[in-house]
Amino acid sequence: MRIDKPAQLTKLRKELVASEKNHTKKIMVCCGPGCLANGSAEIVEEFRKVIKKKRIKGFKVEALKETGCHGFCALGPLVVIEPSGTFYTKVKPKDVEEIIDKSIRKDETIERLLYDDPSNGKKIESYHDIPFYARQKRIALRNLGHIDQYKIDEYIAVDGYSALSKVLTKMKPDQVISEVSRSGLRGRGGAGFPAGRKWATCAKADDTPHYVICNGDEGDPGAFMDRSIMEGDPHSVIEGMIIAAYAVGAHEGYIYVREEYPLAVDNLKLAIQQATEYGFLGENIFGSDFSFTLNVSRGGGAFVCGESSALMKSVAGKVGEPRAKYVRSVLKGLYDKPTVLNNVETYANVPVIIDKGHKWFSSIGTSKSTGTKAFSLVGKVSNTGLIEVPMGTTLREIIYDIGGGILNDRPFKAVQTGGPSGGCLPESKLDLPVDFDTLTEAYSMMGSGGMIIMDDETCVVDVAKYFLAFLVDESCGKCVPCREGLFQLHKMVKNITDGNGKEEDLEKMERLSDVIIKSSLCGLGKSGPNPFISTVRYFRDEYLTHIKDKKCPAKVCRELIRFDIIDDKCDGCMACLSACAFDAITGKKNEVHVIDQEKCTKCGACKTVCTRDAIKVS
């Protein structure tokens, strides 16, 4: 069916909402990245089987929804019963029948599957009451967990494509740009460039044709915000892109998705097909003379292709190497034509801004960073998951109130924001409000929204080494400071973790970092030394302990630690002996075991299996 008039869309929406109301109860199974990995696909299958078998009166299989990421990944797989919001955690296929019997056929809850409030040990039934959710504000992630990710009708039922209908029938392109400009929306990919200004520059460019591209090459380790949106709510991105295309006069667009996100590719392709069938993509959209086609372009798995100019080369089928952007890509982008490139989350915000107006959007967040920001909260934090908070929320609120504090109540050490090229912030910076400018002033950056929490068992020198190794591997290798400079910087950090560092190394590394920052060609190189710079700025003492005392305070760096068995505690159970893959542990049953330091690789397997805490790391 093709929709040519706004009235048709309104009518369809009314019908869809009415038919949704027929379901007195709905089962939402989270099929986000985390829950899928924990087996939510099997749970969906089991639900289908049980529903078919039991033939529940008044309950249709359509009320079973496969949703996008609900957010609380630490407790997945998640199953939510709507409209009560009953929140079942760590659900297994064997729980399915009980859920149907108790919560669908009757109105009972299953205590054992509910969320435990760690502060008082009480069970919380509805997710609305869980602090993790209660303190969030969701705009870009508005539909995740609430609609079926495979159905365009579900998106339409929650006001989807109404912004597009408004734009194409009631607004001129410059009005759209003005609305986005006045909302204060800044690019969510990391740099925070005002989206409206970018669109205005492209719209005014004389050269034709114009293109719009969506950057879905989310490559930061630990980040999955964009992935969740592309998989769980692809239409919000597509609608945002069509609006952008109308605003800047583009008739062709690309969504660039990284190779590692096959599900996002599938869901986007399906969504594009559905949108085309309804006439939201293609010729004469909403009966106007505006036409727009959208294609999915798959990356080859290179981190650098998240950089705009490398991305555009990759879309054009060339080697993904960045070029110098002395002439900006908004004027000379894809095929050297004016191109608007925004990130997934930026586009997902656009329909809401059009629907609710710039005043509403700019009233959220801070004056210079309006709206909200999605983060993937990972690392040593209790509530790992996908969150969205108003700009200006402090790191402490995010980590402690939403994240539930540090895992196992250990002391906080650092939070890494902005991906590999971002920075590590110490406890003294926890009360900083999270927005584009504040994080940059604190020598970190917003980045696309990965947030890695570290506790006292994390060694920051080791973290710097890890991220530098990542960047050495992911550098495109085109320019010398990035290719050779980061390689040498990584070598020097590794020297320190191996116990071979010298005090003067730190100064030399800082000088090298300065040259890399000044002379690299693209953003990857220019921010490449950040893992070192930001850790040495806030944790210089830890570097010096590695260098001078040859010690790793966090007991992580293998060359600087040793494993020993405490005689008094060892009962000779032989668990560590069989866990050691290198035959480094000797001893007889019921006798104290000994670790051969020559053979020990310091993998820590013995410590993990020891139930008597008899393995000492020093």
């Binding site: 080697v319 110098a324 002395y326 320019c479 290719r483 050779e484 040498q488 002379s519 060609l521």
Partner: protein
Amino acid sequence: MVHLTINGRTAQAEEGEMLLDVIKRQGIDIPAICQHDAVEPSGSCRLCTVEITKADWDGWKNYVTSCLYPVADGLIVNTHSDAVNEIRKTLFDLYLARHPNSLFVQKLAAEYGVTETSFTEVPDGDDCILCGLCTRICDRMGFSAISTVGRGHSKEIAPPLKEAPPDCVGCLACAQSCPTGHIKFSEEGVSRSIWGKQFERITCSKCGKLTAITKEFADSLSKTQDIPREYFDICDECRRRETALTMGRLAHWVREEETA
């Protein structure tokens, strides 16, 4: 016309010109080893980095590769400031760590006082400095037979799948443009070998001398440039002789016409 200041002296440039060209015209020597007039600049060696500022930038300075930076009115350029020299020295230091045996690198680095690297030498460092001149020239010739392969520190220049490149015509443009002489080729009799592929050089059908052009190159030029294939069957010398004879005959004929 654009007016700018380079090292304290005023200079003029055409709109759209790149900064490096203007710097060179001023007689200032700065290294730029990935740059070649035959191809588009790429900005990979970073050695032509200069410091730029403008009167209204409040003292803020930027470091840009002059080969890629379009000139702008009021630009104040310093080609040898302390920071720029530090950048070039460090880059040469890094180059020497990666290519310790390259005479080309050693000579250039010595000009900036860097005679040995302060970083860790790469044990199996070869002479390919990844300037990309070879691939850009190959693209420019219209063959794109070789390209950069891989990324990061293990990036290299290679034919597709590292096998004998099907699109290579043995023109040697890559080898001749390589500043360090890393790209090797061999010639023996009529055969030429490069990138693991064998070619046969054309023997002049008049004098029997070997020409510099391979059969594959001639086939390609004939097709793409619309030149009769026979044109390449004789050497340059014989072709010149042919042309001279034709001209002589023509002149003789004109003279006869005039006297008649």
